[in-house]
Symmetry: C2
Subunit: 338 residues, 2 copies
DNA sequence: TTGTACGCGTTATCAT
DNA sequence: ATGATAACGCGTACAA
């Protein structure tokens, strides 16, 4: 019999000192109902006294599953990734789960192999997939094959409810453009996101919906595509503003591009919102810090991430978690009536 | 004897099929030098064939240490946290280490208890501490007590080299202000960061150094303090610009406040950089996206984080890693000669 | 209600 | 150079 030598106290130390068996201590830890109240209290006292904390590695080995949940992402934007991390943390706070992050490179050819190696090596409890890589069905399939439960975050329903948490970008954009229509804008330009991004496609659909709803026709002359960057936003803005009949308002599919449009407008001597109204998407930090502050659409990122994490770790609660979230329009100062 | 039943193959499966003992397989995995080449190849063939990957939980248990490194931070800004995560990942790529993140609340009274619980529960290999909480000595002491190795990132040398990776904010700010002096500015305002932040104090010292070096006197009328936010930047800007002799240039201790100063200038009808030059600090996303793009100072965050991670996981390399890093001045368009 | 004996997958000790 | 056997800390049958 060894004493509590150097390291942390173990379940054996607790059992020995409390004068019970390991199993009893184990029952106390796992809140087994069939336990004598007196025994429980005695054991709990010893646990407190020793400052005993169960070793998660040993638990993981015995239970044949660990308590790590992974976040796999391709850095869509820093604000979003951090928001997700906060959301997950709020779900696992006061549990034994921890969050391990794994940035990957979407453009890399061996991205899938990279993820596979990661999952096989770490044997995570489950993973969360962030857009845009969450849109990759092969990735979800890989998780399935490897027996790693997963939840995908996305701009639209990509999977079954238990594997999915979605914002409804199409509807959110339709609302935002509708907001412009309500304010009298009839010539509304659109800056699309890059092809291949599901979010970009959804947002484009939302734009069409709103125009159709308002009885307005699509006009390619005031539509452009960017790649979600500031620079491509400038280029898109220049194109739309040089149309023979330029728009009185522009919806850009993300804030970076909206900032680019703003820049292009300013370069052409236009005032925002006096001469041009602009609406963005994402509500990243830029939105509030450019001038004028940008009216934009915000995902409830933390709430979505929290719901997703709960789906992952708590099957009992999973069904009760919403799978669909509505985005809010954040009204700031970049829009005025036509 | 069990077959490779349902789950992943184990070391036993490999040993049985290769016709050797567990220990031999273990030796192969751990690259023990005293091994017959033929045996090694035979075992490696079986490993490849089975797709065997060692179980990290079992290893952790046997070795009595795991391979998780923690990142504890209080979200100074999203860009920085993500940069650090990337840096750490580049250091642990192709190793068995994984990164677990733990955001904490600096203002919470039980922040220390929170971290203690986290460390006791997860038993991490080591942790990285980000500013501003890395400046908290009690936190470092806690890690020490719990036997968790740590490395702190900060704006100045806070600890011994093996526990520290520092940018030299004082020198960086002195350089930035000197850059203004070189361009003929003699009346240079300063927006300090909040009291209690070591970085704020260091940056203020850098400002004083530069003025002294240039033979300029400190003038409280063109100095203000903010709390690293956009709004406090506006307030500070308003104060400085309403001085009886307003500054021709302003150094703000971070980009958010610089953006606020820019906003204040614009509100007062001033053009930047024609009427006022502005320099910020951090090179966050805002810096490049406001108009005019902000000249600012950039930490080599990823390089610092990578060095810090190597110090943590590889004692052999630790000494060779630099502990001090120089920040770069990023010249954009918010400065012009006086 | 509580305890005994064994398994989880790996490494370490000490032979051989 | 290789193997038998005992840890590592915890959970679970199955008994008692």
């Amino acid at each position: 019999m060894k004493k509590a030598r150097d390291g942390k106290p173990t379940i054996n130390d607790v059992a020995r000192i409390a004068g019970v068996s390991k199993k009893t201590v184990s029952r106390v830890i796992n809140r087994s109902p069939l336990l004598n109240e007196a025994t429980r209290e005695k054991v709990e006292a010893v646990i407190a006294e020793l400052g005993y904390v169960p070793n998660p590695q040993a638990r993981a080995l015995a239970l044949r599953r660990n308590f790590l949940i992974g976040l796999i992402h391709d850095n869509p934007n820093a604000q979003m990734v951090l928001g997700v991390q906060e959301g997950i943390l709020s779900a696992i706070r006061d549990t034994e789960f921890a969050l391990v992050v794994r940035p990957v490179n979407r453009r890399s050819l061996d991205m899938l192999d990279d993820v596979r190696a990661f999952l096989e090596q770490q044997r995570l409890f489950g993973v969360m997939l962030l857009p845009p890589i969450s849109e990759n069905d092969a990735l979800a399939e890989l998780c399935e094959d490897l027996g790693v439960t997963y939840v995908r975050m996305g701009s639209v329903r990509l999977d079954e409810d238990e594997h999915m948490v979605a914002s409804n970008d199409r509807e959110a954009v339709a609302n935002a453009v509708g907001y412009l229509v309500e304010r009298g804008h009839r010539r509304i330009g659109f800056v699309a996101g890059p092809e291949g991004f599901r979010s970009a496609a959804e947002r484009a659909l939302g734009y069409r919906d709103a125009l159709e709803q308002a009885g307005l026709a699509l006009d390619p002359a005031i539509m452009a595509e960017g790649s979600y960057t500031f620079e491509t936003g400038i280029a898109a803005g220049e194109k739309l503003l040089s149309a023979s009949t330029p728009p009185s308002a522009i919806f850009a599919s993300n804030d970076e591009m909206a900032a680019g449009v703003l820049h292009a407008a300013r370069t052409q001597g236009l005032s925002v919102p006096e001469d041009l109204s602009i609406v963005g998407f994402d509500d990243t930090a830029i939105a509030a810090h450019i001038w004028p502050p940008l009216t934009t659409v915000r995902w409830p990122i933390q709430a979505m991430a929290k719901a997703a994490a709960i789906k992952l770790i708590d099957p009992a609660q999973a069904r009760k978690q919403p799978s669909h979230f509505l985005s809010d329009l954040i009204e700031r100062a970049s829009v005025r009536p036509a």
